[in-house]
Amino acid sequence: MKRFALSPQPFEIAPLREQLLSAHAGAYASFEGWVRDHHGGRAVAGLRYESYAALADSEGERILGEAIERFAIVDARCVHRVGDLAIGELAVWVGVSAAHRDAAFAACRFIIDETKGRVPIWKHERYADGDADWLHPEPPEVS
């Protein structure tokens, strides 16, 4: 089953949420990343997400599989935009259904954290002052 997707166009949340509806689930947690008008103190005009699509797909599916193994959840989905995005646009969406809210919240947090940390997607920010930059954050410390 395909639980992760890249979307080159704006996408609707309602049909994705609908895929997670289940009579066995009492809890649903979701997260959305929106394009913000500022970053690190600079005014942002817009951005572009680029991906290594083949590897992003497989790594995204792996993360959702890990979430289903690690947490007592019913199901989960994640969709990430690629291409040009304006301020306020939806960049990433995560949805998780579970019997109880502890697992729903924990898995939702896990999926967005791992997606941000592992999936080959890069953000190119354009600033109001005309500058532009690829974001290549320092990775978290690994033991």
């Binding site: 990343g33 997400y49 680029e50 991906s51 290594y52 083949a54 590897l55 992003a56 497989s58 790594e59 990430h80 960049a91 990433v92 967005i112 997606t115 941000k116 940390g117 592992r118 999936v119 080959p120 997607i121 890069w122 953000k123 190119h124 690829w134 974001l135 290549h136 954050p137 320092e138 990775p139």
Partner: protein
Amino acid sequence: MSLTVLYFASLRDAAGVASESVDADNADLRGLYETLRERHGFALPAERLRVAVDGAFARWDDAPRAGSEVAFIPPVSGG
């Protein structure tokens, strides 16, 4: 041997191309990256990158394979 290299984000900007065919005689992928880093002036050291071969993450000490597609993955920033 000949293989294809893919560049993304700041690496692509620095290389000026999204992919190129490379004649590699390096013992491992780390050596291949160092050669290409020198050629294109990449700012990022290999320690900041991951490497993938034919669409799957690989190890820096894997040997390059003829005809394969090697991707250097700079630090990601999705989400």
